[in-house]
């Protein structure tokens, strides 16, 4: 067992894990943060995307020990003080989710997109979602929600 010390959703965590434990297993099984989902075993679907030090990462492709010292944000830590993140709100307003299973990963990916590429257009947005599968929405309303959130955040910063 190896001790890892990290911050998850602003909370300090220090915990012993097996060397083979994946970050997603640490989050789901040890910390009961079940908002992060597992939808595949080949790192394609993106249901497990979280932020590690501000970057979106598929938490099924990262060992828990690799996150030692990192700051991790999951879908549970995205809303601040009970107020939804604008991306969460945009997904709700635009009906960008149906079964909800891909949604946490989709939102975490989308947040990084609008934060790092605030001018991303429809094409770039669709390309960005290459690693996030959704089987329900046809991506239509997901792209709409992301573009709308991008515009709202632009307005806010203007």
């Amino acid at each position: 067992m190896i001790r890892v010390t990290l911050k998850v959703n602003k909370r300090p965590v220090s915990i012993e894990v097996e060397p083979r434990t994946l970050l997603v297993e640490l989050l789901r099984d040890k910390l009961q943060l079940t908002g992060t989902h597992v939808g595949c075993d080949t790192s394609h679907c993106g249901a497990c995307v979280v932020h590690v030090d501000g970057r979106s990462v598929k938490s099924c492709t990262m060992l828990a020990v690799e996150a030692d010292g990192a700051t991790v944000t999951t879908i549970e830590g995205l809303a601040q003080g009970g107020k939804l993140h604008p991306m969460q709100d945009a997904f709700h307003q635009h009906h960008a989710l149906q079964c909800g299973f891909c949604t946490p990963g989709m939102i975490m990916s989308a947040v990084e997109l609008v934060e790092t590429r605030p001018t991303a257009d429809e094409h770039e947005t669709r390309e960005w979602l290459e690693g996030n599968f959704c089987r329900c929405t046809g991506y239509h309303n997901i792209v709409k929600a992301i573009l709308s959130c991008r515009d709202a955040m632009k307005e806010k910063s203007a």
Partner: protein, 798 residues
């Protein structure tokens, strides 16, 4: 949206695009899916699966696995047989032409003697952790004697093919027919021309993003069982698991389907893993959890489609259809999944009229076994196969007759004034307006501007094509007596309970299950409207057999038209009881009480009581007609539909093809549909978007492929073509409503139409783009390789 809704216009709740109330938990990570549930002391199951498509099991040794760290138990098919556990049942009996029953092979939850597809369950390893169970599975030694396999449909019906089941001669499960063979023969004889086509409907893998999972919990203190499972229909699972597999009476078995991450049909069926975890839980005295890895989903979730159809269409000189003959070979896989036999027969052959007034139709269906994963309903279930055949065939007829593709459709449409219309293949369409949806689609796609767009593409070196599909489907399944005659082993009604609480809030218990469809919002809108109470005061409860009176679940686009109608019936009973209470309180005769928007009024006066006041009186019956009316305000209802419902519409696809690479890009996708009365347009549009992507996915990207030994070549997201965001443009969807005439809501259903109408539009667009090169046929999925080869071979011959 251009809707022409009639009922329920008076309140904002029906017809309003209210953002969904269920979203909150999903966007904050608070959803509760089966794998999120942790029961105290739960153990973890890993299913050891067959690596061979067809093999005898000579022996299984579990000693080493049992000795591995953390392992609690290992069970094989021999343990299942020793416990006299029943097999997984099939829910539909189809009879062959000669009156004999279909071949119905046993389907044990763990196989003891002979595996029949890659992924077949051979043993279950239960350990303290998932990792330990998985590691120990490597230590189970299975000695297989590999047999020749039947890998594809074509292989199954080849002379000298291997045999999947000894009792199924020539691998035939049943050989069934429908329609008037003689009339069709006569039509062929008198025809000006007979158009022939053969189309393959590619096998697809559902791939709901949430993999299947199940937790079985035997509670010794009450001698009862709980199953948490990723199901679209918990009551159906309780019935099949309880009555047929484990022999547990309903009152001792609770089935909970919590949040479920998409289904598309694949989570209708009763799967072996559900039975295994419940059975094993009693054996080891601990809850047992199993969660599929994605690679297991690929080889154990029921697949969809997989048919080959040959058809002949007799036409006269003017292009009128005279008769249609269809021969369909359908793959059942290695075992009969819950609804499998009904898909190519009662859900496909019955749709061979499409939206056309073809007077004579005859359909034969030969269902065959192969050494592949069982095939069952997948979004559309049988209707996409029919729509694909018909719409490809109609385009081909136009081409061969030198007619316009739209003209031939219009000429053969069942006209608006012909409804109700009885088809030659057993259905009666209640309403429809096929001209209007076609017109709407043409406007949305700007058909007039197409030739200019084609020219513009040409200048960029691209081939542009436009394709049409005018489809009808049958959903809202189904009248119980009718399906009973056709072989269904269950009724297909729906149940609901409406409980008005003492202070006026309302709980609605529905037997349908929401796994993305948004019932918690839509049904609340419906009840708020019907009962005249604020939307926020209505909650929808589903997914737990301990809470819900009964139900048949969600599939076949039935939730609103059947489940919603059960809710309306229960509301009607609430209103009827409320009238009696109001008459007493208002000192009027019951006949003089009028119900209007949440209020009971004495006709012609301003004296009235609100539904809230009536509810309070019903629970605090101090001043109450106690001699004749029971206290309380709660009613249940079962609704059995009188007919199927018949959504229809027109889908138009525009593609651009790069002739150098063969890559097909969908540049425009338009859907104009008549799905009946709409409660929440935003949710309806969302259903359309999702269905369209599954339709385009089937047309362009998705295919389950087996090699000749029966190995699944497309067994992961690495090699199965899942549609991605970058594959699509924004879609244009719209509705033209004709209300269903036989349910109280007027709803028809929207869940599947996208996947039904769309694939032929896409393929017809590809063929339109390639027509100038002389290409006349191509098969789904239309991959770049197929397009490139079609272009090259056309070049060589023209």
């Amino acid at each position: 949206m251009s809707t022409t809704q009639t009922p329920g216009q008076s309140t904002p709740s029906i017809g309003a695009s209210i953002p969904r109330r269920e979203d909150r938990r999903f966007i904050t990570g608070a959803g509760r899916y089966t794998d999120d549930i942790v029961l105290p002391n739960q153990a973890y199951a890993y299913i050891l699966r067959s690596p061979h498509a067809h093999a005898l099991i000579r022996s299984i040794s579990t000693d080493a696995a049992l000795a591995a760290p953390g392992v609690v138990a290992v069970f094989t098919g021999h343990d299942v047989a020793a416990d006299k556990v029943g097999g997984i049942p099939c829910g539909w009996l189809v009879k062959s032409k000669d009156g004999s029953n279909m071949v119905e092979p046993p389907h044990p939850m763990l196989v003891a003697d002979r595996v029949r597809h890659v992924g077949d369950q051979v043993a279950v390893i239960i350990a303290d952790s998932k990792a330990e169970a998985r590691a120990a599975a490597q230590l189970v030694e299975v000695d297989y004697d590999v047999l020749p396999a039947v890998a594809t449909l074509g292989d199954a019906i080849t002379d000298g093919a291997a045999t999947v089941w000894d009792q199924a001669k020539g691998n035939v499960c049943f050989d069934w027919d429908l329609g008037d063979k003689a009339a069709v023969k006569a039509a062929m004889k008198s025809a000006y021309k007979v158009i022939e086509i053969e189309v393959r409907n590619n096998r697809v893998i559902p791939n709901a993003i949430e993999p299947r999972a199940a937790i079985g919990h035997y509670d010794v203190s009450g001698d009862n069982y709980t199953l948490y499972t990723t199901s679209q229909n918990p009551h159906l699972i309780r019935l099949l698991l309880g009555a047929f597999v484990l022999g547990i009476p309903e009152h001792r078995l609770r089935v909970v389907a919590p949040d479920v991450g998409g289904g598309f049909g694949s989570k209708i069926y009763h799967y072996a893993e559900e039975a295994i975890v419940v059975w094993a839980s009693k054996k080891i005295g601990r809850p047992v959890k199993w969660t599929a890895e994605r690679s297991e989903s690929f080889m154990s979730d029921a697949h969809g489609r997989d048919t080959v159809m040959k058809a002949h269409l007799a036409v006269d000189k003017e292009g009128k259809f005279l008769g249609l003959c269809v021969h369909n070979v359908a793959n059942m896989g290695a075992y009969l999944s819950t609804f499998a036999p009904a898909i190519p027969t009662y859900l496909s052959a019955t749709l061979m009229a499409g939206c056309y007034s073809t007077p004579a139709i005859y359909v034969e269906v030969k269902a065959v076994f192969t050494n592949t994963v069982p095939v069952d309903a997948y979004r559309g279930a049988g209707r996409p196969e029919s729509a694909y055949l018909l719409e490809r065939l109609v385009d081909k007829a136009a081409r061969e007759l030198g007619m316009d593709r739209l003209e031939i459709r219009r000429k053969n449409f069942i006209r608006k004034d012909q409804f109700p219309y009885k088809t030659p293949v057993a259905l009666e369409y209640d309403t429809g307006d096929y001209e209007s949806t076609l017109e709407m689609a043409l406007q949305k796609v700007d058909y007039q501007g197409f030739s200019a767009r084609r020219e513009a593409s040409k200048k960029r070196g691209k081939l542009r094509g436009i394709g049409f599909s005018t489809y009808v489907e049958a959903c809202g399944i189904a009248p119980s007596a009718l399906v009973g005659q056709l072989g269904a082993r269950a009724g297909l009604y729906e149940a609901a309970t409406v409980r008005v609480h003492p202070t006026g809030s309302v709980s609605v218990f529905t037997g349908t299950h929401s796994h993305g469809q948004g019932h918690e919002t839509t049904f609340a809108q419906l009840v708020a409207d019907q009962l005249g109470v604020p939307y926020d005061k209505v909650e929808i409860v589903h997914g737990d057999t301990d809470k819900i009176p009964f139900g048949m679940g969600t599939y076949g686009s039935r939730s609103l038209s059947v489940g919603g109608s059960a809710i309306v019936k229960a509301v009607d009973k609430i209103v009827a009881k409320g009238k009696k209470i109001a008459a007493h309180l208002l000192e009027a005769s019951e006949a003089d009480i009028e119900w209007k928007q949440g209020e009971f009024l004495v006709v012609g006066t301003n004296r009235k009581k609100s539904i809230g006041e009536i509810a309070f009186a019903a629970y605090v019956p101090h001043n109450y007609p106690i001699e004749t009316v029971e206290p309380g305000l709660e009613e249940s209802a079962f609704y059995d539909p009188k007919n199927f419902t018949y959504p229809a519409g027109c889908h138009v696809c525009e593609v651009e093809i790069d002739p150098d690479t063969g890559v097909v890009q969908v540049v425009e996708m338009v859907a104009a549909d008549d799905v009946g009365v709409i409660i929440n347009p935003m949710i309806v549009d969302g259903q359309m978007h999702g269905g369209l992507v599954q339709g385009i996915g089937q047309a362009l990207y998705e295919e389950a492929q087996y090699d000749e030994s029966g190995q699944l070549l497309t067994g992961s997201f690495l090699n199965y073509g899942m549609p991605r965001a970058s594959d699509f443009p924004f879609f244009k969807v719209g509705n033209h409503v004709t209300a269903c005439t036989h349910n109280p809501i007027g709803a028809k259903g929207v869940g599947e139409v996208g996947a039904i109408g769309c694939p032929p539009a896409v393929v017809n667009a590809v063929l339109d783009a390639l027509a100038p090169l002389g290409v006349t046929d191509i098969s789904m999925p239309v991959t770049p390789e197929k397009v490139w080869r079609a272009i090259e071979s056309a070049k060589a011959t023209h």
